[in-house]
Symmetry: C2
Subunit: 328 residues, 2 copies
């Protein structure tokens, strides 16, 4: 396999290991997320006449590393990141406690872990283009040396518009349901609405999408198939919304509203997001990759209230009471 025709950088795991263990889920997932990274970056670069994603490959002294792709100050993309990480080591106690609180049964001795995933946030410049976030990850925990192994997938895709376009929301949710099937969609749409909450404000971060964790059923192979369908749905769910809205006109006041909503995005990510906090509080974390999710600019006004009946107020109503976007 010619790496540079398939991927944006040399994978974290050596070619020899990727080849020798090609059937191992760890390796299958790493190769898969590398492909998704390249496809998504390339799809977005189509909108830029000059800027490309800058590719940073980094290694972690404690084991593994990552490939961070960031595009800043583009014509269409104000700031976007598409990151991969492949890490392994001893599971921090806090992470084990977090897993137990979700119902995982883990031994009390040393726990080793492997985790790989892709994580992306795209903040476009035009307030009529929503922000997208997605993350798909694979996790293994092994008790002691070569003891019992648990493995699962997690992830999701969600949309944060600044102005509501109901057709865009329906298109986005429909693409996700096409990928997941209706039953999983219903379950994971609710999970998403329940997770992305800016609790102190009583509002959601955006119009949702799907979110799930601890997926290992009916088999790890089938769970991987599900995750592949979800991740492959990112481009068709999102890129048409960029294409459709990127050249729309907007007023300075609409830009200010976008910046205020980006302030809420920052609040969610720094105060509530499990991944961000787990990442930042892990010693040796590459904080620049974790914080690439933050927008280029954000704004906080004291007691800002959108005018009654305005487009801004219309969005707020949806963020306070999530809607079903698709006819069941």
């Amino acid at each position: 396999m010619d790496y540079l025709s398939e991927f944006l950088a040399v994978p974290l795991t050596s070619a020899a290991v990727l080849e020798a263990e090609a059937g191992d889920m760890k390796r299958r997932m790493e190769v898969f997320i590398m492909k998704i990274q390249k496809q998504f970056c390339h799809a977005l670069e189509e909108f830029e006449s000059e800027k490309k994603f800058v590719v940073d490959r980094w290694e972690r002294p404690e084991g593994g590393g990552g490939i961070s792709c960031v595009l800043q100050n583009g014509e269409v993309i104000e700031k976007g990141g598409v990151n991969i990480s492949v890490v392994h080591g001893v599971l921090p106690k806090e992470a084990a406690a977090q897993m137990r609180s979700r119902g995982k049964v883990l031994g009390t001795g040393q726990l080793n872990f492997f985790a790989c995933g892709i994580s992306s946030v795209i903040h476009p410049r035009n307030p009529h283009v929503p922000t997208i976030h997605f993350n798909y990850r694979y996790f293994e925990v092994v008790e002691g040396n070569g003891g019992a192994k648990q493995a699962w997938f997690g992830g999701g895709t969600d949309l944060t518009p600044y102005y509501l376009d109901e057709n865009d929301c329906r298109h986005f949710h429909q693409s996700l349901r096409d990928a997941t099937g209706p039953e999983a969609y219903t379950k994971y749409k609710k999970w998403c609405d329940d997770y992305f909450v800016v609790t102190h404000r009583g509002e959601r971060r955006g119009v949702g999408g799907i979110f799930f964790d601890d997926l290992e059923e009916p088999s790890l192979d089938e769970a991987f198939g599900f995750v592949q369908r979800c991740a492959n749905a990112v481009i068709p769910s999102y890129v048409p919304l960029v294409e459709k809205n990127k050249d729309r006109l907007y007023e300075p006041a609409q830009r200010e509203w976008q910046l205020l909503r980006r302030g809420r995005y920052v609040e969610f990510n720094l105060l509530y997001d499990r991944g961000t906090k787990f990442g930042l509080f892990t010693p040796g974390a590459r904080f620049e990759s974790i914080l690439m999710s933050l927008p280029l600019y954000a704004k906080w006004e004291y007691c800002h209230q959108p005018e009654e009946g305005s487009a801004e107020a219309e969005l707020m109503a949806i963020l306070r009471t999530p809607r079903e976007w698709l006819i069941v």
Copy 2:
């Protein structure tokens, strides 16, 4: 006492109670912080030809309330807040745990609390004018109904410049040492350097000041005297720095640097600050008052590095390795 000549709003505690219990520390502190709030707001309004602090008096269904004063989009002050809160009720379990972790011995039954304090953050427009934060508070915890009472003060004042002016730093620290005396200054200066750390970046939020908690020695009366001296030092420590720098010229790139540093301020406040998190995670909290500390605008660039030898790099060196500003 004519309230509106002394204060910016009617105090949270009724006139009858303030008068009848005028010797009680709860009432003394409330009256004191009301005066500080008015003095500081008025001192800053001197810099504005039109804007005044907007005064919001709010009550908390669970007991008590606050007075929030906010000035946004001024000529000199881009966003500033000076808040008072006077609250009481049942101490949340997490707050009790936090106090125990600091060494407080508290019973395991119901704990009632009273807390009042003043908290302020001023973000000026000009990057040559530092941001100031101060907070002085009084806390009582009473076991059960009328059981053993513990009472203490906490607080501090700290400075966050965007460009380093060593004379300004020395003036600020000297004003604090004049208020605290050299021994307390040395101890609380270090506490401040240790507290205001953006841990994941290995840098401090600013050039420090003083920070302390659990102050009840040598007597509560004397501790109150100390807190009064500290709070009275806010205006002489800070207002001359605004006066001196507010009309300095700056380049757009210096404004961008200020916004990046404001992003770090947001990171500290949302990820690490005890007061912010305690506030936001308390049910019924008035989040608008807590989050008035966030700047009007902030910025995040991926992997931003100031140029070697630049004024920005000079500031970063100090933020990585705090300095002694005063000759001992």
